[in-house]
Every structure is written in structure tokens, then in C-alpha cells.
């Protein structure tokens, strides 16, 4: 153990207690990656503060000793945001898992960062309320992690992503200071709440979150639409949106994805040989629901739908959603490994981009399944590979980047809900110029001046080597380069 590590363990044990500090290699190995398993590194230690003050104390000490650190929720992230490169301390927030307060009148709840996403809905459902953002990992992921990644989910088409539901944050800053952001309705000044949300642990550690809770819709209908052609399904999606319907969700799975989910833990008995299925849901006032489903069915019929099934009850609906939400994991049934991508495209380019992804698959020889939020244009190509084959992991990563290029080529983006993390740092250059990246880093410097908070994530290294003093504009400071 180095002298630095010895001092760290001693001080963390003093601050948090012995059972709140992991430092042996055998204990640390669980923390060498998050849900993106192709990148790994060992943390220096893992600590488990139980209160905001403990987080603050830990950060103050790390700041004073210039030791980098990474906040971590449930570790379900898919872009490597919580993965250490080596040398960072992981601050796990799983002990801060309380639901602190619910205000039904003003439709707000206050949770600690380690509180599980689905637990919130489960806790307020008896009063007729729910929490809208619903990542596929919602049974395991934490709301703190959701805030860090600005997580999405199937129902974000109608209800928006995490940032649309965060009303206030308590944050421990880089030096241990505890601050409140938002918390008042329509806070004046600059939207720092918006900046913190989706900042992937690089601007502060969220220790309390005030979220909007919604009244459960009076009524809900869910339908499956089966297609013999992914192109037909794509056009149906565009036309449903164009018809002025705002569905709660429209999800799509392609042929390989359907094969996967049907061999996994929640098969629903989709017919054999399908090329695409749409899962379409509408919700709201009961009186309007039937009409909307009817209209969606009509649009699907115009695009050669093979069969439509409407869920008969909540049990059936639940089964269909469980089937959809196991899709990533289900890839294990048909491939030794997979990499999921997270591109976003204008909805009207869906068919074209799916065709391009099929080409990329053919060129590379790797199968690609598609399971995605079709209504949002948020694609999730699942690149199937076998890490035991020499070079295939690298090939899968290359193919992932190519699928993102297919998205940015049509004016899209590289992430809809999974974040940039380690994985897509270099891909940021597909979306931003060097100057634009510098401007973002200048904002980071305000909150994270010595780059100890989740270092080397979310943004690529500046094109020039050395430490660049970030500033906006073409003034002198912009050019200052301090090689070290």
C-alpha cells in the first residue's frame, strides 16, 4: 500500500467507520467498471458516506490531498461514466437511499441520490402518483445516477427526460462546499440546475434531489404492431407523430432483438419471422384514448402492418413492457457479448439510418440488433460480438462509432440518454468543434477547476497536448497553453 493510500484509508475510516471503506483488491474488483464492461480500471478505494455532511467531509479531504474521485450510484450506466481509469476514489452513494419527503399538493418528492428509480413510483402509487422517467434499468438504477446521466426511458417521448423532472438539487462541490440549486419555482438567473443535470459527475456530487411527481393517467392503452418490414414500421412511426398524436411511448424492436427477447426471461409469444414490432402506448383522459389507438392502428394499416394486438389488461401490458425492458440483457441469449449504442436522429430519417446500420453490420460481419425509442428517434444499436475472438472487441467499438456517424451524418447526436462517459469522449468531435469543446471545458473549470471530479470523462482531451487554460472567444487567454 502506498503512503497516500494508507493515509486515505486511515482518514476515511476515521470519518465514515471501518465498514464504509473498501481498499483491498478483492473488494475493489466489483467497481472496476459500470454497465459498459469493455472498459475497466481499478479504483484506489471505495467509500460509502451515509449523509451529505459525510460526502462533504470526504470531498474536502480528497480536495486538500488532490486525489481524484468519482461518484457512483448503482453502476448501471452504459457509457463508463462511473468507471475508474485507476487512481480515483469511488464515492458510492448507495447508503444515501432515503425518500426524504413527498408533497402531493405541489407534486414534488425529495430523494437521496441512492434511492432507486422504481422505488419512488412504488412509494407513491397508492396516492395515484408516479415518477415519469423510466430507464430500462429502473428497478436497479438510482435517481442520483439518473440525474448525472440525464437518463431517459421509454415514456420520455411524451414526458421528457430526467432534466424535465428535476426541480432542485443539493450538491457537494469540488471543494466540499454544500450548495442548493433550483428548489424555487422558475429560479431566476442562469440555469445551473440544467447544467448540473447530465454533467456526469464532473461538476459536483448530487446529495439530494427534488423531483416532479405526476398524477397517474386516468387511462392507458397499449398495442403491439407486427411488421414484415422494418422500413414499413419506421414510416408508421413517422406518420403517427405527424398525425398529431402524442403517444406516451413508441418502441421498436427489430428481427434480431425479437429473437433475443423471446429466448430470454420474459417471452410474450411474438409470431415467428417478424422483421419489426412496435410497442405503442397512449395515456390520458379515458374518453380520448380509444380514438388515439384507433388512429394509430389506421396509420399502421396504411404501412402494411401484419397484425395488431391490444393489451387486454394491466397484466398483459406489464408483460409486454417487461419483455421490452429485458432486451439488452436478452442479447446474452444470442451472443456472448454486446455493446449498446445510443444515437439520436431526426425522426423522419429513421428508415434511412436503419438501412445504413444494416450496411455497417454487413461490412463488419458483426450482427446488430435494434431496440429503441422510435418515437424520439433515439436508436440503440446492439452490436453483438465475441470478446474471445482476437480484435473483435475493438471491431465492435469501431462499429459503434460508425453507427454514431450514421446518426450525426443526418444531423443527429451521439447520445440520447446514456451519456458520453469514457466510451464516447472522442465521438464528441462528431458533434462539436474544438472551440465548442473548449467552451464547455471553460464551464467545467468554473465548477471543477482542478479536474479532480470524474477526470477525463465526457470530453475529449484538447487536440494539443498539455494543460490548456480554457476560455471562451478568440482572445489571448484562449491561446494560452501550459505544457507540463
Amino acid at each position: 500500500m502506498t503512503e497516500q493510500k494508507r493515509a486515505l484509508v486511515e482518514e476515511m475510516t476515521r470519518l465514515l467507520g471501518e465498514d464504509a471503506v473498501l481498499h483491498r483488491d478483492a473488494d475493489l474488483i466489483t467497481y472496476e467498471c459500470d454497465g459498459l464492461t469493455v472498459f475497466r480500471g481499478m479504483p484506489l478505494a471505495v467509500v460509502f458516506p451515509a449523509t451529505t455532511e459525510e460526502v462533504s467531509d470526504v470531498v474536502k479531504w480528497l480536495y486538500a490531498h488532490e486525489i481524484p474521485f468519482i461518484p457512483r450510484g448503482a453502476g448501471t450506466g452504459l457509457s463508463g461514466g462511473a468507471t475508474p481509469f485507476g487512481g480515483e476514489v469511488i464515492i458510492s452513494l448507495v447508503r444515501m437511499k432515503a425518500l426524504l419527503h413527498v408533497d402531493y399538493d405541489n407534486r414534488e418528492a425529495v430523494v437521496q441520490p441512492g434511492y432507486i428509480n422504481l422505488a419512488l413510483t412504488n412509494s407513491i402509487t397508492h396516492k395515484g402518483f408516479y415518477y415519469a422517467p423510466d430507464p430500462s434499468s429502473q428497478a436497479n438504477c438510482t435517481i442520483g445516477g439518473n440525474v448525472a446521466e440525464n437518463a431517459g426511458g421509454a415514456h420520455c417521448l411524451k414526458y421528457g427526460v430526467t432534466t424535465n423532472h428535476v426541480l432542485g438539487l443539493e450538491v457537494v462541490m469540488h471543494d466540499g462546499e454544500i450548495v442548493e440549486l433550483g428548489g424555487v419555482p422558475d429560479a431566476p438567473g442562469y440555469d445551473l440546475l440544467g447544467i448540473l443535470t447530465g454533467s456526469e459527475g464532473t461538476l459536483g456530487i448530487v446529495t439530494s434531489i427534488t423531483v416532479r411527481i405526476l398524477k397517474q393517467p386516468e387511462s392507458k392503452e397499449t398495442a403491439l404492431a407486427y411488421f414484415d418490414s422494418a422500413e414499413d414500421a419506421s414510416y408508421a412511426v413517422s406518420d403517427i407523430i405527424a398525425a398529431g398524436i402524442v403517444p406516451a411511448a413508441i418502441e421498436m424492436m427489430d428481427e434480431i432483438a425479437i429473437q433475443g427477447v423471446e429466448r430470454a426471461t420474459n417471452p410474450v409469444g411474438h409470431p415467428e419471422g417478424l422483421k419489426a414490432v412496435l410497442i405503442m402506448e397512449v395515456d390520458g383522459i379515458a374518453a380520448g384514448i380509444e380514438d388515439q389507438i384507433d388512429e394509430m392502428v389506421k396509420v399502421c394499416e396504411r404501412h402494411n402492418v401484419k397484425e395488431i394486438r391490444v393489451a387486454q389488461d394491466d397484466r398483459e401490458r406489464g408483460k409486454w413492457w417487461a419483455n421490452r425492458k429485458t432486451a439488452f440483457g436478452a442479447m446474452g441469449a444470442i451472443s456472448p457479448a454486446y455493446l449498446v449504442q445510443d444515437g439520436v436522429i431526426p425522426r423522419s430519417r429513421l428508415s434511412e439510418v436503419l438501412a445504413r446500420i444494416a450496411e455497417i453490420s454487413a461490412e463488419s460481419g458483426l450482427r446488430i440488433a435494434n431496440v429503441f425509442h422510435a418515437g424520439d428517434g433515439n436508436l440503440h444499436p446492439l452490436i453483438l460480438f465475441d470478446a474471445r475472438n482476437e480484435g473483435e472487441t475493438d471491431l465492435a467499438l469501431e462499429v459503434g462509432t460508425k453507427t454514431l456517424e450514421a446518426c450525426t451524418d443526418v444531423g443527429g447526436s451521439i447520445t440520447g440518454e446514456h451519456g458520453v462517459g469514457i466510451e464516447k469522449k472522442e465521438d464528441m468531435r462528431l458533434v462539436f468543434t474544438e472551440e465548442e469543446i473548449d467552451r464547455q471545458l471553460a464551464v467545467r473549470d468554473v465548477f471543477n477547476p482542478n479536474n479532480l471530479m470524474n477526470p477525463d470523462k465526457q470530453f475529449p482531451k484538447p487536440a494539443r497536448c498539455g494543460e490548456v487554460k480554457h476560455a471562451v472567444g478568440s482572445g489571448e487567454a484562449h491561446q494560452a497553453v501550459n505544457i507540463h
Copy 2:
């Protein structure tokens, strides 16, 4: 004319042409304030660039010569955001008034900053689309100004404020550099688009705006609910929201406001002696609309509503909205002058805060009318006064601050949609600590390092005199004070 002004006028004339530069006092007087008329100051000059490149050229010259400047749209702002203190150059964007592009498939429009808010809806209505944010000034205000102030409107209850509809911005930065923000779906990295929106001209000059356009709802119903008690009306509002209805709008006018609108240009014949009227609108799929109106009527009946009227057609609905939207101006019919405030409160505290505002009115001797977005908890106390009476303007400003205190006392905020501007700079201390203000100023310094862009707006001066180097946290830089 000073040497500096002579050089400015000469260079601006060279860059933009003679008819694009105003510099004589008689011409400048129109620009000494915006819609908040109690604060005034004379600009050094007013210039009218016609293109992004011209804005950039103007800013580059001003930056090189260290002359402060203020962007201005239609000048309908209500917090003095476009008001010069003296010495600034006003960059008017009214010549940049084109609708550049509409993409119905992807539901986006691109406009120049001087494009009028209502013109967008008028231009796309034949295709069944509209632009949702609808400030009362929508027939005159510009979308650039809406972005600067993060403007709201009656229908923001359901559809959100301007920031929820801005998808991308082209911005001229403090030194004249032209940058693009957003523009791709779900842009990764920090939410700079969100920071720019509502930054009141302090972070950049918006020269092109990509906004979301919405499909017109299939159906719409509007009802007036008349009450003999403002308290009853307040509880009806809370209960409608609590019932799970998401109305497109719920507006409230109190007794004095009703008297005003009935004597102004669009009377609708509200009964005499009312204490409150609610204007309630629901929209969406036709089949659900009747049920929602019925449920809202039932809630109003539980709270002793006196009479309900449902609009028979678009003409009647339009008349009611025109009546509501003249409410501010209508104060001219019952008072020589008025000051409008813009507090926000948790909806459940509506009745209590209205009672407190009535007390403030009684204590001060100034009448206060209330016209506001009740469903949002966004209050607009209209403080009626006569500037000819010695000290009454100052008294009105004091009363305005007291109404804001009544809002922040219950956990509310000082602005919902009008911005901070000059008027509420000091009131920022009701919401933020000195450290929190410093943190916001640190973000401003990234984009506006020499404070030439709309100086001395939106934030109070730091408590200590002199120029403070803003930095976050408790580190050394935070303490550095450079007295000059």
C-alpha cells in the same frame, strides 16, 4: 459629441450604412427604456445590423474599444432588461426579422431574433401548426427577446416556457465570434443552450433561433368561471390541478383587474361586482375534452362558483383571450400608472399569498390588481400609482418588492417570465445567498469576461465594493478582491 462617440458613429456608419445608426438625442429618446418605464437612461447610440455577420462586426469593434452594449428586440420587456443606464450602445435586432426555414416533418422552425412571436403561428397555421409560448405581448414581442427573457405566457401551464421550445441557437459572443449551440437532438455535454436561454443579453446576442413547433390540438374548450370570492377561486385552481387535469391554461383576474379590462378596448360583459374570474382552457383529442371541462366545472361548483360560461365558438374564445391579454394596458383606464410584478409561488399557497398582497395594498394605500397565470402559481400584482404624487413611484417599487417577499416567504421566486433586468437585481438576494450569486457570476465570466454585454443587469453588485474575481468554492481565488 465626444471623440469616442464620433469614432463609434463613423465606424458603425461605415459597417452598416447611414440609415442603420441613430446617435442624435432626439432619435435616442425612444430607447431610454423598455416596457418598464420607471427606469430610464440614454444610450450612446442605437445600431441596426441586418445580418449575423453585421452583428459580429459591430460587436468586434465594440469589444476592441471596450464599449458596453445591449441587445434589444421590440422593447416590450417588463424588467428593464433592454434599458440603458447611459453609455451603452443598443444593438437593435428588428431588421433581422425573417422566418428562415420551417421543417414540418421534424417540427422545427428557424427564425431571426427580430421575428415577431405571433407571426410564427400565423405563418404555419395553414399547415395545422403553431408556436406555443404566448406572452401577452405576443403580437409585438420578438422571439429573440423571448429567448433572452425565457418568456412565458398563458399556455405555459401545459406547454412550458420558452426554454422548453428552443432547440438551437446561433449566438454572437462577447468578442464577435459566431457560435452554434444545440441544434442537434439531445446535444451531449453541458446544457449551454439552457444557460443562454433566459440570460437576458448578458452571455451573448442571439442571431438565429431554432424552435419547436407543435401540431394544433384537435379540439379546444374554454370556460369562464365567475366567483364572489378570490379565495374560492384560488382553491378551485388548486383542486383542478389536484384532480389530475392538465389544463392548457388557467388564468385569474381579480375585482380591480376585471374593472380595468371591462373599461378597456376589449370588454366582454363580465357581470358587475365579481371578485374573481377564472379563464380555463383544455385542449387535445376531441373525445376527452368535454369530460375535462365537466370535471373542472364540478370542482368550481364545490367552491361556490356563481356562474360558468363556455365559449360557443372560436370567435367568443378569441374575444375572451383578447380581453385577458389587454389587462396590463387596461390599467391605464383606472390608474395613471402601474408597475407589474412577476412572483411565483407553490400553487397550494395561492389563497394565502393573495391575502398577504391585499394586506400590503392596505398598508401602503396603493391599489393592487391581480391578473395572473393561476395554474402555474405565477402572480402578476399590478401596483397602481400616480407618478405625479411626490414619492409615489418609489413607494410603488417598495410595494413591488414586498409582494415578491410575500412570494419568497412561502418558498417562491421573484420572476416567472419577465426576467430580473434592472428592476429585480437587488431582489435576487431574496432567493440567492452571496455565494450563490458569485457562482452565477463565475459562469457569466466564462461568456462575458469583461462585462461589456448588458452590464449591471440580472445580478446585484457583489456586497463588497470593487471588482471581484468570481470563482466557485472556498479556495483562494474566491477571496481575491481587486479594488479599483
